[in-house]
């Protein structure tokens, strides 16, 4: 049973593991598929494919794991809710543990989340503080203004030079030398850097190098700018160089003759040193970075909030998961313990909990297993003791059942608790009808008063043992019993009931009486018979000698002597009968057929008494057995003689039935008549010598029957026939041949 259960558990566990493996494989396949799809279809940036796969792989695995975690947690929570509702063992503790864990993790997590969100919002707001932004913008503006001013300055100087060139017509070819002097002078006066002039008639432009930066490369203008200049516009540009930024102002040179005609251009360059440019650039960069980040303020905030929310959810999920796992770890052994306890309560002491743990739960489980083992050992010992006790009890019961004396025990309330077979037989009762009933409810008043007397006597004598010989009539049976009443007391001396032992002395007494009567008969025969013959002889002699001599009076004399002679004859017969009874021959049993022996006698009586119906029923299957045919013959003659005498009417009926009890190997011969019957008070005495209800009976017939049957180790009994008459029956043991 246990093994089967274990196998079931193993199979369940294996199935669960297989399912988990399938889930893991599916999750893995999903993650890979999702990664490939994502990297193929959403490859929007220029990252290498491997990086894309890595990033999307991580993302998809995370997403799948979160979904899986969510699924597992929801499943477990639903399961827990279901178990709690259905009152499954351990669910309450599990719910409490999970609630505690979730509560414990939820409070700090939520607090931390709120604090983090607030802190983040505050920090982000702080980073984008309006003062910082303003300061950066102002700095940028300063830088921008500086550049603007430099451009304006360059354009202004260029304009001045252009105006002087126009005014003095220095663009003319013959005044070139003067132009060069003029620009050199202006370079010194205005502290300008490189100056370039270009006139339409010239092939190349004239470059007046900057004294401070002789390596400065001349400016290359794009066509659109040149076009603008020739349309009369002033332009400026900034060109990065090795030594810094060159701020160039370019203005058109107008014709002296036609002032609206542009005939060339002048550009003036100022060099902003590299160190200074770098500083300005860093201001611009800082401002740009700030601007970018400010632009991303809300997305960053949203992103952080979402990330924090996910982390919070993951923490809550993990806490729930951890709570569930921990609760499972605690409640599972408890659940097993409860189930094992239930099994033990139902008697299954082979329950064993298979949990390996080093903690207190493990100790508890070990102790429980040890306790179960001890309990089983104790139970086995108790069972063994019980078996021994039961064996002893059965032995005692067998002894009690087979003991020849009848034993009846009653408890202190008077309820019959034991009755053995001998008692059942003796009193002709069935134990199932009287067991566990009060003896007072079962006994007739006559017997009950007798019992009360005995109990009273015991009480008065303050004795717990009483022996009495009783002669009782039970239904149609007369019994002589030796009654032994013993009160039972437990170790503390408390009354635990009474045991009554009945010893059937009927047969013993019968035998004793028969022996006594034989002795009496023998003595009587001896003492009486001896003087009878002289008395009879004397009377005959007197009759012979004086009978004729006395004349008329002689008839009286003759009558008297004849009476003496007749009565002596009667006495002689009587004495002979007694003598025969006393000198009963020794039984010499030989193999005979009881049916035949009885049938012969019945046939004789049928011939002699035609007015009586003799019905003979021999026993079927009765084997021949050792019996003294002559004596049984005599028994039957006596019984049938009595039956015929009892009928005393015409058309009487006598049934002679032989039955054979194969199991107990006993043959019973019953002679039933429909005569007047025997009164109950005589039944006990009918087998005693010199007891007769017949007018001329010697009273020895049934005594002889009883004696013969006793010699055959049998029993004789007398009972009433229904509706009238008597049944006298004897039982003989059928010895095995």
């Amino acid at each position: 049973m246990e093994k089967k259960r274990k196998n079931n558990i193993d199979e369940k566990e294996l199935r669960k593991r297989r399912r988990e493996r399938i889930i893991m494989v599916v999750v893995g396949v999903l993650a890979i598929t999702f990664t490939l799809i994502a990297s193929n279809f959403f490859n929007k940036n220029d990252l290498p494919l491997s990086t894309n796969i890595f990033v999307y792989g991580l993302t998809s695995i995370n997403v799948i794991l979160i979904i899986l975690l969510l699924f597992l947690i929801i499943r477990n929570v639903v399961k827990l809710f279901y178990e709690h509702r259905h009152g499954i063992i351990g669910s309450k503790l599990r719910t409490k543990l999970v609630a505690t864990f979730v509560g414990l993790s939820l409070v700090p997590t939520i607090l931390l989340f709120l604090f983090a969100i607030n802190f983040l919002s505050y920090s982000i707001e702080f980073w984008f503080n309006i003062k910082i932004g303003d300061a950066l913008n102002r700095s940028l503006e300063v830088a921008q203004v500086y550049y603007q001013q430099m451009e304006e300055q360059a354009k202004f100087n260029a304009r001045q030079i252009s105006a002087d060139i126009t005014k003095n017509r220095l663009y003319e070819r013959e005044r070139m030398e003067y132009l060069k002097n003029f620009i050199g002078q202006r370079q010194n006066n205005y502290k300008v850097g490189m100056v370039e002039t270009y006139f339409d008639f010239q092939k190349d432009k004239i470059v007046f190098a900057d004294a401070e930066h002789p390596d400065l490369v001349p400016v290359t203008l794009d066509p659109k700018m040149i076009e603008d200049i020739y349309s009369g516009k002033e332009k400026s540009t900034v060109q990065p160089t090795n030594i810094g930024d060159a701020v160039v102002g370019i203005v058109p040179v107008f014709s002296y003759a036609v002032p609206s005609e542009v005939i060339g251009r002048v550009s003036v360059s100022y060099v902003i040193p590299k160190g200074f440019v770098d500083k300005l650039r860093s201001i611009a960069n800082a401002s740009e970075q700030y601007g970018k980040i400010k632009f991303l303020k809300n997305p960053i905030k949203s992103n952080y909030i979402i990330t924090l929310s996910i982390v919070t959810l993951v923490i809550i999920f993990l806490a729930t998961w951890f709570g569930l796992t921990l609760a499972k770890g605690i409640t599972d052994p408890i659940q097993d313990l409860v189930q094992a306890t239930n099994r033990i309560t139902q008697g299954d002491l082979d329950s064993h909990i298979d949990i390996e743990a080093d903690d207190e739960i493990g100790l508890l489980v070990k102790s429980f297993n040890q306790m179960t083992k001890d309990l089983k050992k104790s139970k086995n010992s108790v069972e063994e003791a019980n078996i021994n006790l039961e064996r002893r009890r059965k032995y005692m019961e067998t002894v009690l059942r087979n003991v020849s004396a009848g034993v009846i025990s009653v408890d202190k309330t008077g309820m019959i608790t034991t009755i053995n077979r001998a008692a059942e037989r003796m009193f002709d009762i069935k134990s199932e009808k009287v067991l566990f009933q009060n003896y007072r409810d079962l006994m007739i008043p006559e017997h009950l008063s007798l019992v009360d007397e005995f109990l009273q006597e015991m009480k008065e004598n303050n004795d717990n043992l009483l022996e009495k010989q009783l002669e009782v009539m039970l239904k149609d049976k007369a019994l002589t019993v030796l009654l032994t009443i013993t009160t039972i007391q437990d170790e503390e001396g408390n009354d635990s009931g009474t045991v009554v032992v009945f010893e059937d002395l009927t047969q013993l007494q019968k035998a004793e009486r028969a022996a006594a009567w034989r002795e009496v008969a023998r003595r009587m025969a001896h003492e009486i018979k001896n003087p009878l013959t002289p008395v009879q002889l004397s009377a005959q002699r007197l009759q012979r000698k004086y009978g004729d001599k006395l004349g008329e009076e002689g008839s009286v004399f003759k009558e008297c002597t004849q009476t003496i002679i007749d009565q002596v004859e009667v006495l002689k017969n009587l004495v002979n009968e007694f003598s025969r009874y006393a000198r009963m021959p020794v039984t010499s049993p030989t193999l005979n057929d009881l049916n035949v022996v009885v049938a012969e006698v019945v046939l004789l009586f049928q011939d002699a008494h035609k007015d009586i119906v003799f019905e003979f029923k021999p026993a079927e299957g009765l084997p021949k057995f050792d019996l003294d045919a002559e004596q049984i013959n005599r028994v039957m003659i006596n019984l049938l003689d009595n039956a015929v005498a009892a009928i005393n009417k015409k058309n009487g009926r006598i049934e002679i039935t032989i039955s054979y009890d194969e199991q107990h190997r006993k043959a019973t011969v019953a002679v039933a008549d429909d005569g007047a019957g025997v009164p109950s008070s005589y039944k006990r005495k009918v087998f005693e010598p010199y007891f007769s209800t017949k007018k001329f009976g010697t009273g020895l017939g049934l005594a002889i029957v009883s004696s013969i049957i006793s010699d055959h180790h049998g029993q004789v009994s007398v009972a009433d026939n229904n509706p009238t008459g008597t049944i006298v029956s004897f039982q003989l043991p059928v010895s095995e041949v």
């Binding site: 940036n45 993302t59 300005l280 740009e288 601007g291 997305p299 992103n303």
Partner: protein, 167 residues
């Protein structure tokens, strides 16, 4: 319908040729959205990539791809000099514009793009050209574009536009 109206798309597609090449003229409309303009002005560079594919039409088998091109244009604002630099195909020398409008025009007008050399075509053949513009994901400071899983920016992609031509 209004939502469709503001979707970026390629228009005014024209295919012509000079002595050597087949040339493409096209314009991207609705390419600059307000938030994108703000982002560019905040210093975030924006890049459009023109994808161009030329196929030869075939009757019984699938069409043959003759060539494929990618042209990248990036606009970057210089806040110090208040100029807009437009870089073409990673050319380090940008075209500088002092106003945003001109710079935007330079970004969305694709003029005289060499689609395919005439030598690659067969006389009497039917061809078609597929073109679309994709805006690359914004490059954010500290590579934050990789961190923003949940925030969508202005990156877009137009539908492929088809233009048939014969040689």
């Amino acid at each position: 319908m209004q939502a469709l109206a503001i979707e970026p798309k390629m228009t005014d597609i024209l295919i012509t040729n000079n002595a050597e090449n087949v040339l493409l003229y096209a314009r991207l409309v609705n390419g600059f959205k307000p938030n994108m303009e703000l982002a560019v002005l905040a210093g975030i560079p924006a890049t459009f990539t023109l994808h161009l594919e030329v196929y030869q039409v075939r009757s019984f088998v699938w069409d043959k791809k003759i060539t494929t091109h990618e042209i990248k244009r990036t606009i970057k604002y210089d806040n110090l000099q208040k100029t807009f630099s437009v870089y073409n195909n990673s050319n380090t020398q940008p075209v500088v514009f002092s106003d945003f409008e001109s710079a935007q025009k330079a970004m969305v007008d694709f003029n005289g793009i060499v689609a395919v050399p005439l030598t690659s075509l067969v006389k009497g053949g039917d061809y078609y050209l597929l073109v679309k513009v994709k805006m690359d994901k914004a490059r954010l400071p500290l590579h934050m574009e990789n961190v923003f899983f949940f925030v969508s920016f202005w990156d877009f992609e137009t539908a492929w536009e088809r233009q048939n031509f014969s040689y």
